[in-house]
Point group: C2
Chain length 138, copies 2
């Protein structure tokens, strides 16, 4: 997933009109692997000369989440983070440096039972602690 024509096709397949702003955002998300916040997305695009308004960033990201292209990662109740929805993975969050590490998780193999669940749309796993890098520092 690299070219604008591929991104355009993806958006259209989801029923989203491929405006320039949306293509820029989607392209950014496909190349960013650090679970960015809205603030970071906005600043990075602005630095590249693409000065979208923040409302447009919110609008587009929310739309992408609704259409199943992105997911929101709720690490804490401060800023939301966004994640391209590729294969299943869990998150390890370092409470020292704030880094977020992805790790593949086979949710089916975990075979978790939620008797109250009628249907399951999304599965998230968060482990929190101190990452090796921070631990080694002191």
């Amino acid at each position: 997933m690299q070219s604008f024509s591929e991104l355009t096709a993806l958006l259209e397949s989801k029923g989203i009109k491929p405006s320039l702003q949306r293509l820029l955002l989607l392209d950014y998300m496909y190349h960013c692997h650090e679970h960015p916040t809205v603030e970071k997305i906005y600043a990075d695009l602005a630095a590249q000369g693409h000065a979208l308004s923040k409302a447009t960033v919110y609008n587009a990201l929310t739309l992408f989440v609704q259409k199943g292209i992105l997911r929101i990662v709720h690490l804490d109740n401060s800023e939301a983070r966004y994640d391209i929805l590729t294969n299943d993975h869990g998150h390890f969050v370092c409470e020292c440096c704030g880094a977020i590490y992805d790790e593949p998780v086979d949710f089916d193999q975990l075979n978790l039972q939620f008797p109250e669940a009628g249907s399951i749309r999304q599965r998230d796993i968060f482990y929190r602690g101190v990452c090796k890098r921070c631990k080694d520092k002191g």
Copy 2:
């Protein structure tokens, strides 16, 4: 864990001065099994005639989290929810009615590997979807 003297002992064992407000909050949390928001805690205590200020509720809950008595549940980036820290469990969140269901999870048995993790302090699992009750309704 029922009586005020037991709650007092718990607070003191964690190095927290057992003020009346803190005891009321802790007592409330021990008897509330629905992952309440600050707003709900505040309203329920007020309805019982205990009009703590909202700042006090925030202060005390934050303190309890720091001391490992409660944990914050970040369902989404709106209101934080609080959970008495008892045994390990996962959460199933109904996106239709907002209900939160606990389910015991043996995290050790899952044996998830996070190679970047130096030490792990907390483990969370969130499944989201539609609960049976909502699904049956149509």
